[in-house]
Amino acid sequence: MRIGVVTFPGSLDDRDAARAIEHAGGTAVSLWHGSDNLKEVEAVVLPGGFSYGDYLRCGAIARFAPIMSSIIIAAEHGFPVLGICNGFQVLCEAHLLPGALTRNQGLHFLCRDQRLRIENNSTMWTNGFSLNQEVVIPLKNGEGSFQCDDETLKTLESGGQVIARYLGEDPNGSRDLIAGISNARGNVVGLMPHPEHAIDTLTGPSNDGLTFFTSVLHQLVGRA
């Protein structure tokens, strides 16, 4: 199973996302922001980092990259896309996901091992979790506060689009402690914490993050 990882100028966790895909049993394929060629991958990860320095707004400039036009079209047809941290921000800027990610309430960059509850295990990227499973995954960002209007929030909550919520002390002021959401169809998922940094206990606080990657591989195999 070929899964693409996009590199924008300023992407940082692209190699880590590729490593996680390989650990999960997939084949990671590097995709360059400046080309619209998806290289026949079957899913895409938009990795963490500071695309274009995160100047202006996080993800605001990256969303206009040529690769994004292909991803937007594919995503609208049910193609699986996972945006991690900066990738989540790009997905919101591209309007593939509702809402926006804004400055952490504490105004600092925050790096910590974060407890989460998985609240939807039917998306392409979370089907390997049990419902309400608690996991620990590193969170590291300066602008991770999920914001949206009341209407959108209601839709997200009632439609089961909140896929993960922060547990314990509120890290950043996100509405309803939202850590990750999906689109209505469940193929596009955005997640603020970094599952690619929780693939083994040697380099991360747990291996809980691996399930995001095995989930999509499982899904793709099932579909094929």
Partner: protein, 81 residues
Amino acid sequence: MAKIVVEVMLKPEILDPQGQAVGSALPRLGFTFATSVRQGKRFEIEMVGDPSESQMADIQKAAETLLSNPVIETYVVKVEK
């Protein structure tokens, strides 16, 4: 040579932790004049000559798509001089 100014502010219903932090720092420094503070962005764009009508349309479009995020922000475009 005209200067275009684009002012971008968070919508009132969106949490503004930066503005809040300033708002609570002020009284600590003995400044009591403010009842609320919001923080936004200001872009100064230089261009050659005065903007034509189609350029103005472009500027509006850039402000709406790139310089601001309509999900959380509002913008105002001003032409100076």
